[in-house]
């Protein structure tokens, strides 16, 4: 064959039908198998060894669990705090979502920034920040309130605010649950067919009537999903109760489990039983959600791209905006200011010494001058390197696995891997911590106290988020683009490297940032697995909180928060830029 004098088939017509070694397939299935083992093995091995291999019978373990001192009270506390904060967060989250999606109080950046709050100031920093603001004696807000009161001749010695009680704990919990509820509800409102609401308005219904009888029922599944996410997250939350619950002796399940695992010998049987109680709650939640979803099959989602009419709030517009802005004030700005102020003080006292502001704490921490400073510096360095390595590994592995599972869906390994990567989302992080201690800390692996066990545990707990984001990025690339590569004769390896991966970069950048911040800011797993010799940020902050060293704590928290913000905003900017290029 020729065209314009050229011999047409340019490439050798080799007998290409013979099976070539499929490099990508081998790599991907090995990785998929490894990740599946990493997720399933510790859970399975610990479970089997605790309930079947050790001397204690199941009845002994159950009896010990029931005999556990104050266990009824702990469960009650957990139920009240989680129930209360999930309810409050759902109400606030839904209101904020409605305001920013459906009313003229909306401010563009609010919508975009709200879900980022827990990334910008992680809960542990928020909890410490709020304590510094509202501690009865030296809380900065209390100082201000008392200062104002003294102008009016009122002399108060402590308070009036106090974080160490039910209200304080539920308040801080709720703050950090709001974004989890907000995200699905806002998405659902955005996708809701506007003609549903328009039909109601044009039948003469008032906006409130429409909201009550049309909008709310239509977004019920999203509200349920948000509340469930909040519930799962709240159940695993360790940093807030550890920081605020100690003084008023309000202990919750996570705190008790971590304590059971840190005494010697570790009460692993009781801890695991309590952990399974959490799993039962989560699975019941997931099951309920499924039922709600399957019954509301007919909820109309569609008409995307259509801009729905916004409700004019009139004189409520500015008050609503102020409410939205104060959410940022409360969750991020105030606690961060408190921490920054404290980080520049030699110690925390009920008088702010404006003259003694200096950066000594920073030179101490960054230079590793004192023992305290060195510990803090080690923690920062360990966390940052673990998170960079972990996030990179996690995203690359997820990308390869996602490409593999999408193409070889009929392969049983692909399905098993897909299910396994979702599993850590339904298993409380505390339980994963127990499993890692049970299976990997001792012989034969002996990883106790190493950075390796932390890295592996971080990989496991962030796997659901990583694979979700990567999977979304992969589906956005469009199936035909990789199919066109296959029909062009490219192998799976080449298709992945030249087509899927470059096109996924914007999504991967966002995924990398998410995983980085989750790993670097982790507290629950870190507290259980880190050791004084190999500290990480979450571990170190709690340690400094418990044994004193607040200015150093505030310094690490400031540095860490600034770094997280830089990483998140940097990744967002990068992914936006990459997405715009050449489209």
């Amino acid at each position: 064959m020729t065209i314009r004098g050229e011999k047409w088939p340019l490439t050798a017509s080799r007998a290409s039908v013979s099976r070539r070694p499929r490099g990508f397939m081998i790599l991907a299935s090995t990785l998929a198998a490894l990740i599946t083992v990493l997720i399933l093995y510790p859970l399975g091995a610990t479970w089997v060894s605790v309930f079947f291999l050790r001397g204690d019978s199941v009845t002994t373990i159950l009896t010990a669990t029931i005999r556990e001192p104050d266990i009824g009270k702990v469960l009650w506390n957990t139920a009240v705090i989680i129930g209360g904060s999930v309810l409050i967060a759902t109400a606030i989250g839904a209101t904020l979502a409605w305001l920013s999606e459906r009313s003229d109080a909306s401010m563009g950046w609010v919508t975009r920034a709200l879900p980022l709050v827990p990334f910008l100031v992680p809960p542990i920093v928020g909890a410490v920040g709020w304590t510094i603001l509202t501690a009865p004696k030296s809380g900065y807000l209390n100082l201000i309130v008392r200062g104002i009161a003294s102008w009016f001749g009122l002399d108060i010695s402590t308070g009036p605010l106090n974080p160490y009680n039910w209200v304080g704990i539920i308040f801080v919990y709720s703050l950090y649950l709001v974004p989890l509820v907000y995200l699905p509800i806002a998405a659902s409102l955005r996708n809701l067919d506007p003609s549903l609401e328009e039909a109601s308005t044009s039948s003469g219904a008032s906006p409130w009537w429409t909201l009550r009888y049309v909008t709310l029922p239509a977004i019920k599944p999203a509200i349920g999903a948000g509340a469930l996410l909040a519930l799962i997250y709240a159940l695993s939350q360790y940093s807030i109760p550890a920081i605020l619950g100690n003084v008023p002796r309000i202990e919750v399940l996570t705190v008790r489990i971590v304590r059971l695992m840190s005494v010697f010998p570790a009460q692993i049987g009781v801890a695991l039983t309590l952990g399974m109680l959490m799993i039962v709650v989560i699975i019941t939640g997931l099951w309920l959600q499924r039922r709600i979803l399957s019954r509301s099959r007919f909820a109309t989602i569609g008409g995307r791209g259509m801009r729905s009419t916004v409700v004019a709030l009139g004189r409520w517009k500015w008050p609503s905006r102020i409410v939205m802005l104060s959410y940022f004030l409360i969750t991020t700005i105030l606690p961060f200011i408190a921490i920054v102020l404290l980080s520049m003080q030699p110690f925390w006292s009920s008088v702010i010494h404006w003259t003694s502001f200096n950066l000594n704490n920073y030179t101490d921490v960054l230079g590793g001058l004192s023992a305290l400073g060195r510990g803090a510096r080690d923690a920062l360095l360990n966390s940052l390197s673990l998170a960079s390595i972990g996030a990179t590994g996690s995203i690359v592995i997820s990308a390869i696995i996602v490409a593999f599972t999408h193409r070889h869906w009929s392969n049983p390994l692909a399905r098993l891997t897909e299910a396994s990567t979702k599993l850590p989302g339904a298993v409380s992080h505390v339980v994963i911590g127990i499993a890692f201690i049970g299976a990997l800390a001792g012989p034969p692996f002996r990883l106790s106290g190493t950075l390796a066990i932390l890295l592996l545990a971080y990989l496991v707990v962030t796997m659901p988020q990583a694979s979700f984001i990567v999977s979304t990025a992969y589906s956005q690339v469009g199936k035909e683009l990789s199919e066109a590569s296959f029909t062009s004769g490219a192998s799976e390896t080449r298709t992945f490297a030249k087509i899927s991966l470059p096109l996924m970069i914007p999504g991967l950048a966002a995924g990398w940032a998410t995983v980085f911040v989750l790993m670097a800011g982790d507290v629950t797993v870190s507290v259980m697995l880190a050791s004084p010799g190999r500290p990480v940020v979450g571990y170190e902050i709690l340690d400094l909180w418990t044994f004193g060293g607040l200015p150093t704590l505030a310094t690490i928290a400031t540095v860490f928060t600034l770094l997280s913000c830089a990483v998140v905003l940097g990744a967002l900017a990068l992914s936006r830029k990459m997405a715009l290029v050449r489209r």
């Binding site: 340019l10 490439t11 683009l481 004769g489 490219a490």
Partner: protein, 392 residues
């Protein structure tokens, strides 16, 4: 370009049963593909299809939406794994459910043009087109000249350094075409490649695709639901109905001898009449219809009393202003008319019976005009019993 006998013999691969006939470019045997919908019901997208496509043929798959055209094409390309059956090309067996053989798409040497173009947005036009050559490790020196000449042939040489997002829809389709042709595959599959471009570009590209196919001599399998496109491109058309081949043949054969009403309707507009066979008059069958007696010249062996369906094409109806000695001629009244640019189209009434789509050139006739219409006996197709009609 002359494709000689030695060219054909260049491919020595013989089929597994050892026959040394000219090997079909693609041979599909008893191919079945089932899908399971989310709700558990099973869809037979491809339902026992067998087709042999000879080398150099331009086969068009024509059929209504959802009849399984895309699925069949994707099975050939290897992008979909059939439920059962066998697919072979002149390079060997690509899929065989019995032998658990399934060659991945990248090893099949079958090019494909996607309906959505599927150009890679992060690569320039040049890199998009060079990709199949690079993937097949072609010598570096050859790649540049090959890509450039391919782009030139398709008239998009000056776009080489643009990104796909920066060129028009028609140009994107040319790039997709260049990418499918550049490696010189034996077979190229097209999935409705022209459905996203406007009418004028469509006509242009259709002619170019046919020209390229003749020049390069690849075997083409082309999916469309546009009958004009099918007629214009095909050496053979396969009409697909609900996952099965309803009829396969040259455009002419399918147009003039459709095997079923479905095929007749798929390939062009029809005017249909039910009737009962009355008897034979020489080599004409006489059929009693709502228009009265119609004479049909047919090779179909019908006998008196049979219920039959008469199928005609609008273009075969003749409209006259005076009575002339023709068979099958009736007095008629114009009920409605429309000017369609190249012709006028009328609905006419013969007593109570209406006949749609009667074409005529010339001045448009007012409603109520008295005319004569006629249809030559050879232009009428007899199809079996009118239960076909009930199904349709």
């Amino acid at each position: 370009m002359a494709r000689t006998q030695s060219d054909l013999k260049r491919r020595p691969d013989s089929t597994e049963d050892g026959s040394s006939q000219i090997v079909p470019s693609i041979s599909i045997e008893n191919l079945v593909k089932h899908f399971r919908r989310e709700n558990g019901t099973e869809v037979r997208a491809v339902d026992d299809i067998s087709i042999d496509v000879p080398l150099g043929e331009f086969l068009v798959l024509l059929g209504p939406s959802g009849c399984g055209k895309t699925t069949l094409l994707r099975c050939i390309a290897g992008l979909e794994k059939p439920t059962s059956g066998r697919i072979a090309t002149q390079r060997g067996v690509m899929f065989d459910s019995g032998k658990r053989r399934n060659v991945p798409p990248e090893a099949r040497r079958i090019g494909m043009v996607f309906q959505s173009y599927a150009l890679w947005p992060h690569m320039t036009v040049f890199d998009n087109v060079a990709y199949p050559l690079r993937a097949r490790r072609a010598p570096k020196a050859g790649i540049h000249s090959r890509v450039t000449s391919t782009l030139d042939v398709l008239g998009i040489g000056e776009l080489a350094h643009q990104y796909p997002g920066q060129v028009s829809g028609g140009q994107q389709q040319r790039v997709a075409l260049a990418r499918a042709l550049v490696a010189g595959e034996d077979t190229v599959l097209f999935d409705e490649p022209l459905s996203n471009v406007d009418a004028q570009v469509r006509d242009e590209l259709r002619i170019e695709i046919r020209g390229m196919q003749r020049e390069l001599g690849f075997t083409a399998v082309y999916v469309t639901h546009d009958r004009e496109e099918a007629m214009g491109l095909a050496t053979r058309i396969a009409v697909i109905e609900r996952g099965r081949v309803a009829q396969i043949g040259t455009p002419k054969a399918i147009y003039s001898q459709p095997s079923s009403l479905h095929v007749a309707r798929t390939i062009g507009s029809t005017t249909e009449m039910g009737g009962t066979v009355k008897g034979w008059e020489g080599d004409h069958a006489v059929v009693n219809t709502k228009l009265g007696l119609i004479r049909v010249s047919t090779s179909e062996s019908v006998s008196p009393g049979d219920n039959v369906l008469l199928v005609t094409r609008p273009v075969d109806w003749q409209l006259d202003f005076n009575d002339s000695p023709l068979v099958n001629q009736w007095r008629a009244v114009i009920k409605a008319g429309a000017f369609l640019g190249t012709r006028n189209e009328y609905i006419v009434a013969v007593e109570d019976a209406l006949i749609h789509h009667v074409w005529h050139h010339g001045e448009i006739l007012p409603q109520g005009s008295q005319v004569w219409i006629s249809i030559p006996p050879a232009a009428i197709q007899i199809l079996g019993d009118s239960d076909e009609k009930a199904k349709a």
